[in-house]
């Protein structure tokens, strides 16, 4: 397989080629997923340099675990499992990690809707307001790490509930409840910013 010819090659073929000793095939997988992986990693660990290390370590781990990959499954779902675990480990070891109080009232369906006010709606609002970005960052950092992973995989990666459940090794119901909690917390942060 030539370097130029790898661009449109399906993941499964690249994995087979890698297992056959073609390192260039694995390079193509790295090039294909490094940007998305970095987006997820930076969302979980919160720091760009740590996220770079997490992505690197995850790809190295994936290279050596590739023989365990089950053909027919999605490579990125399989890879994201390694990535998210690596990112969560890094987050726990980092000084930024702190005890997070889990507000279970968000899991209750009886939680009352908030009072009416306007939310920032667009990415442009974010670009124009450093405070909004800071508020969002604090809200993301305050989420329990698995909740953070769920909302990033859903909202940034656009993964389906089932894919997230596979990637995080949990049930679809757990994904839904974590998503509900995380969305609620981020919405609250955006609302507080608007009020403040």
């Amino acid at each position: 397989m030539t370097e130029r010819g790898k661009a449109g090659v399906p993941d499964d073929e690249l994995i087979r080629a890698t297992l056959g000793g073609d390192e260039g095939a694995f390079r193509e997988l790295v090039e294909r997923y490094k940007g998305r992986a970095f987006g997820v990693a930076v969302g979980i660990v919160g720091d760009g340099d740590d996220a770079m290390d997490v992505v690197q370590d995850s790809f190295v781990k994936a290279y050596y675990k590739l023989k365990e990959f089950r053909f027919g499954a999605n490579f990125y779902t399989w890879f994201y499992r390694l990535l998210v675990n690596q990112a969560i480990d890094r987050w726990r070891k980092s000084s930024r990690s702190s005890e997070v109080r889990f507000d279970e009232s968000w899991l209750s369906e009886d939680a009352s809707p908030p009072d009416s006010f306007a939310y920032p709606k667009t990415p442009e609002d974010l670009a124009s307001s450093r405070e909004l970005g800071d508020a969002l960052q604090r809200a993301i950092a305050a989420l329990p790490e698995h909740h953070r992973a769920v909302i990033l995989l859903r909202e940034v990666e656009g993964m389906a509930y089932e894919e997230i459940a596979k990637a995080l090794d949990c049930s679809v119901g757990t994904v839904m409840s974590r998503l509900h909690y995380a969305r609620g917390k981020l919405k609250e942060a955006l609302g507080k910013h608007r009020e403040g």
Binding site: E23, G35, G48, P113, S116, A127, L152, V156, R183
Partner: protein
Amino acid sequence: MDCRTARKRIEEKVDGLLPREAEGELAAHLAACPACASESEGMSAVGPMLAAFVGARAAEKAPRLDAMWTRVRAGIEERREAERRPSWIPRWAWLPAALALAVLALLFYPTGTARSPFNPRSFEVSFEDVESDTATVALVDKGEDLPRVIWIIEDGKT
């Protein structure tokens, strides 16, 4: 539609899972209920804002991502080297060393106590690999009522 149902429907709508036939009913509720309308607005804002936030963070480091393959390749090589490099003490050498230590421990076991003498027929030594592939665990079980000794040998260090 009550507010509780509306909130469920709002999340379904945000996820693109709201059945088409429920759209009209939800829209009617939102038009009449400012609190649910605000909830809908807030929930809908989270995804695009989060994606924009993460995108902006990722863009800051994007040029450094160009070197990712170089970093990954270096990591692969480093691990390969580490696996190829022979340890200055072969792994199997820990077995007789652990046995010798166990025997020494038995020889110098305090005799002036009220404990019954140690019966060597009841002691076993077993080795188990742990997850890291670089550590060896030796369990020395001297039988009931006697302490169990656990040796953890990792990367040539005990």
